[in-house]
């Protein structure tokens, strides 16, 4: 196997392991559209990275984090519903990002790599970013796990019990921002949310605890990366969509398996 394939596989597995627990929270807290918004904002982050002359991962994390924190404050105003605010930020930042990237890189820029991912072009530096930032996100998530779960179960009850709800919320947003920045190397901006929620959804019916669902989601994600990459290389297909399609296939199998399993005893 070629070096670039090993790097692709390693990056994909790292991102899938991260996406399992984060994606579970996205599903539990109904944040799919929020994930999309962060992903769209990521393109603006790419442009910021190019302008500032730093690695685009840093630019993406910074812009996504700013958008996430902005969202926390905007949604507290309650003048507009949450999904209206998300829609404004999502498409606003995507458009600004498209313009900014075009201005910085010129009109001949290849957007496809950003929009659908370019996992086969993952560099050694990208790999360091995935495992370095990824380890930091997982460590922080372990620390935040119990209060974050308490807020997810019932925000008001958690607040009355003394959980610092806003600080936990901002912390989670930062972890999401980082995860999106890393996942976009694998599946691209438009498919990031798929990699987050499809494995978690596939894991739901086979888990009895939140932790089991997170681990199972990570496992499904790793399976999707391995199967998707194999398929992409064998059939010469774009890798990002192939990974998401593999996840979709595993989700379909999980639905069928759950239906089959629940039938005899009902």
């Amino acid at each position: 196997m070629d070096d670039f394939l090993w790097r692709a596989l390693a990056a994909g597995i790292g991102v899938a392991v991260l996406s399992g627990p984060l994606g579970s929270f996205v599903v539990w807290r109904r944040l799919a559209y929020f994930g999309d918004t962060l992903a769209h904002a990521a393109l603006l982050g790419v442009a910021v990275g190019l302008i500032a002359g730093v690695d685009y991962t840093v630019g993406v994390i910074a812009v996504c984090a700013a958008v996430a924190v902005l969202l926390v404050f905007l949604s507290e105003g309650r003048r507009f519903s949450g999904d209206t605010v998300l829609g404004i930020l999502s498409h606003g930042t995507l458009s600004i990002g498209l313009l900014a990237v075009a201005v910085v890189e010129g009109p001949r820029i290849d957007l496809t790599a950003y929009l659908f991912g370019d996992i086969l072009a993952v560099t050694r530096g990208d790999l360091w970013a995935v495992y370095g930032f990824g380890a930091a996100v997982l460590a922080a998530l372990v620390g935040l796990w119990r209060p974050l779960l308490a807020v997810t179960v019932h925000e008001d009850v958690a607040r009355v019990e003394g959980v610092p709800v806003r600080a936990i919320g901002i912390g989670f947003m930062l972890l999401m921002a980082t995860t999106v920045a890393l996942a976009m190397k694998v599946v691209g901006i438009l498919l990031v949310t798929g990699l987050l929620i499809i494995p978690a959804a596939a894991a739901r019916r086979f888990a009895r605890t939140p932790e089991a669902m997170a681990v199972l989601a990570a496992t499904v994600g790793v399976g999707a990366v391995v199967a998707g990459l194999r398929g992409a290389v064998a059939l010469d297909l774009p890798a990002g969509p192939a990974v998401v399609i593999a996840a979709l296939g595993l989700f379909a199998i999980s639905v069928a398996a759950a239906a089959f399993r629940s039938k005899p005893d009902v």
Partner: protein, 268 residues
């Protein structure tokens, strides 16, 4: 800083207004809950009961007026809305353990709290398969785990039948006897409130009337708010049934010293 009079209360709102979305939901309301006191909050739908509770809990900031809580007050809260997303796999035991810092006796304490609420058999059930009444007991057990000085119960409109509510009030009375905590109860069932509390606040955006249940039930403002039929039917709650129902609807023999008399519902 709390002054001498305020320190007697667990929580106190003084002359509070709350505006939500440009509408005044609560106007010039003053309430307080003292230790060892059960205060009931009643009023028609949309009267601002839940909003007032959220203000007292510190979940909503008042637009005007002052809310004081005893410093370091431990509060147990049973919210009105308790739905948990079906995507979250969670057992009852785990839901309760979330209220505790990880300790060696967490499991025992959770079991004890559930048993106390008559919900011990639900420990391994997943939260989504519980009925409204069961979920209410589970959240009540969770509130108890906190060893609360103040218990705040926002009763759900749906999901619990009248007899189940009667039993719940029995539980609340027992909790209070044993732990001497103050309690603030939002209720939609006048009879149960009158039977199980020692102070009633009748809210319709402002405080219509407040005081001992019997005094309040004779207050013209109360009669105007709930209508003469409702007031008349208070006589009902004084009569005795020869049996009672538990939260599952099973018939139980009536305990001789049962503190809760069961009346017919006032709703339609």
């Amino acid at each position: 800083m709390a002054d001498a009079t305020a320190s007697a209360s667990l929580v106190e709102a003084a002359d509070v207004d709350v505006d939500l979305g440009g509408r005044r939901v609560i106007s010039r309301v003053s309430v307080s809950v003292a230790p060892d006191e059960v205060v009931a909050l009643i009023g028609p739908n949309g009267a601002g009961k839940t909003t007032l509770v959220r203000v007292l809990l510190g979940l909503v900031a008042p637009s005007r007026g002052i809310v004081r809580r005893k410093p370091g007050l431990r509060t147990g809260y049973m919210p009105q809305r308790m739905t948990i997303d079906p995507a979250l796999p969670l057992t009852v035991e785990r839901l309760l353990r979330l209220a505790l810092a990880t300790g060696t006796d967490a499991r025992t304490r959770v079991r004890t709290a559930l048993d106390e609420m008559g919900a011990g058999h639900l420990a391994n059930a997943t939260v989504q398969e519980l009925s409204g009444g069961e979920l209410q007991r589970v959240f009540l057990a969770r509130a108890l785990l906190r060893e609360p000085e103040l218990l705040v119960l926002d009763e759900p409109v749906q999901g619990v039948d009248v007899a189940g509510q009667a039993e719940l009030y029995g539980l609340i009375a027992r909790i209070r006897e044993r732990r001497h905590c103050g309690a603030l109860v939002v209720s939609h069932d006048l009879h149960l409130v009158m039977a199980a509390t020692n102070r009633v606040i009748c809210l319709n955006h402002h405080v219509c009337c407040a005081g001992h249940p019997e005094t309040v039930s004779r207050d013209p403002a109360f009669i105007a708010l709930f209508g003469p039929q409702a007031v008349q039917s208070f006589a009902v709650y004084h009569h005795h049934h020869d049996h009672q129902h538990d939260a599952h609807g099973d018939v139980l023999p009536l305990e001789a010293e049962s503190k809760v008399k069961i009346g017919t519902g006032v709703h339609g």
